[in-house]
Symmetry: C2
Subunit: 336 residues, 2 copies
Amino acid sequence: MSSINLKRLSEELGLSISSVSKALRDSYEISAETKKRVLAMAEKLNYQPNPFASSLRRKKSITIAVVIPEIANNFFALAIDGIQMVAQQKGYHVLTYLTHENFTNEESTIRHLQGGRVDGVLISLCRDTDSIKHLTGLHDTGIPLVFFDRVPEIMDCPTVTTDDYDSGFKATEHLIKAGCKKIACLSLSSLLSITHKRVSGYQDALKKYKLKEDPKLIIECTNDNASNLQLIKKLLSKKDRPDGVFSTVEKLAISTYYVCNEIKLKIPQQLKIISFSNLRTASLLAPSLSTITQPAFEIGKESASLLFRMIEKKTFGNRIDKIVLKSSLIERNSSK
Amino acid sequence: MSSINLKRLSEELGLSISSVSKALRDSYEISAETKKRVLAMAEKLNYQPNPFASSLRRKKSITIAVVIPEIANNFFALAIDGIQMVAQQKGYHVLTYLTHENFTNEESTIRHLQGGRVDGVLISLCRDTDSIKHLTGLHDTGIPLVFFDRVPEIMDCPTVTTDDYDSGFKATEHLIKAGCKKIACLSLSSLLSITHKRVSGYQDALKKYKLKEDPKLIIECTNDNASNLQLIKKLLSKKDRPDGVFSTVEKLAISTYYVCNEIKLKIPQQLKIISFSNLRTASLLAPSLSTITQPAFEIGKESASLLFRMIEKKTFGNRIDKIVLKSSLIERNSSK
DNA sequence: AAATTTTACGAAAACGTTTTCTCCGATTTT
DNA sequence: AAAATCGGAGAAAACGTTTTCGTAAAATTT
């Protein structure tokens, strides 16, 4: 329990508390010589300023919050990596909150953040967020807020996303050109903006190539892995099963692989697959998985950078940034 | 900028600040009726207590720190998941710091944490941490510290690990029983306790089965992916190349797969592989990867639980807990 | 009825910073 | 020589809580 504070430091130096504080913050009011003395003593006693006293006084937390649905997910892990990089560079601390795709969790997390614990918030919405009322409170407190990937469709807010519509379109087009006539689409909650955009791309690609759209081929999956497996198994076991699958998220493609193994469906001969994914082992799978890969790390980096521009008021007036990055389609054997 | 504080609340209610504070903390000194009034007003004005004022006064941050080498790593992502679960349940906040396997980062992170920003620290050491001097300062401040997975070998400290020696032994034994005569071992820094234990298990298994140990077969990899690929390629391109590989970490197994693809080495016919890994797609790889899988989520859970026992002083006297969980060996086709 | 306890609340100190304001002696300007 | 400026430092208020202590009035006990 060392607890070296300014008072102790000032006594040791024979200076006032305020002078010591100023010296440590390199104020012009303090002579160079005194500063040197103070710094030396602070070093010697291993002085660490109390962050709470400082934050209380300065009304700055030097901390940001990241609110995401889950962490055991390649996309989000990479995004956090990017966020952390920028934050560390800025000398900021990062609080992480997981909503586990649960709206109630998201709500209470946001409410807690209104106390001023953080200077800014990065958030990717959870699958059953159907209203953004819980965010207006946070917005009203003036705490900068940036959405990434899973953003609200209606609210006027700063966002960092990828070209989801285009990617959905191209992925579907790719399957069509590979010979698919009947393409299923595996999606998360239809409440999510990314789902909506990716599925729209899918639908428009079908239209362009005059394939008839079947609502039954758009499978809205749940948050439970076992039941998703059932859904996919049911889909692929039917007599008139699809010959192509476009998965809007990685884990549903993995489930599809498992199902195909189970029911002995050959990829890509009997079923072609393409999926949004940040799997590092995509090319090592049997067969290798064709992916639309989002620049997850860059998304994190851009989101954090945007947030810091807002925190530092470098973003002019009431301008609202909407950054869109490009995903890349990587053809592999699952869609040959 | 709402900024509703106790003062504002007390004015609104015609009470003193202290009474409002007590009412909100459900003190026996306040009448039931007054409490109800205060709660109602707090709700109405959306009062959120200032965490810094509170922390300053109570000398409690209700926050823990997690210091890990990287986040884009299945093991650590799962561990964090477990940590977050426990923390959330306890109403604690979680600060995450990435060292990127860099000792200097680890050092400065630890130093920053000495200011009292957190009530406890969970840490997994980075690959070039060769001294734990930087941790004694933290220890001296009385902040509870729990190590998980990558723990110091010498220091008397609370740890949560897995049966690394046994796992290394069994993995090697498994390869031997599958017919391997010449087994290489891919390891991270030899400074790490996990490397040491896993490699010891490997060596003892060789001894038990009278296979001669060749130091050249123990490859200490770097933190750079490209150079690791080179190292592995060199190892596997030799005339007298090994017929088995025991990888102590996931990413080196993945690199090995890439190399085998490149130099057309057939797994498992020409080379058998087993690796520590938390890859969800292990069974979908070509061929499926035999793994020693650590209970990463549980490690996180247990570490956090232990830390909270220490924070809440529930751990008696100067007892030091060392929790060891079991990994499981899962045979798949890469070692058939 | 007097003495004691209980109930319900308020005043004020404390947590450790940061920052504004004040002050004093020394130097420079009028 | 008097006035103004300046460099360096300290006193004290402020940030928003929590908590100790004090104290009236009411309730209870003697």
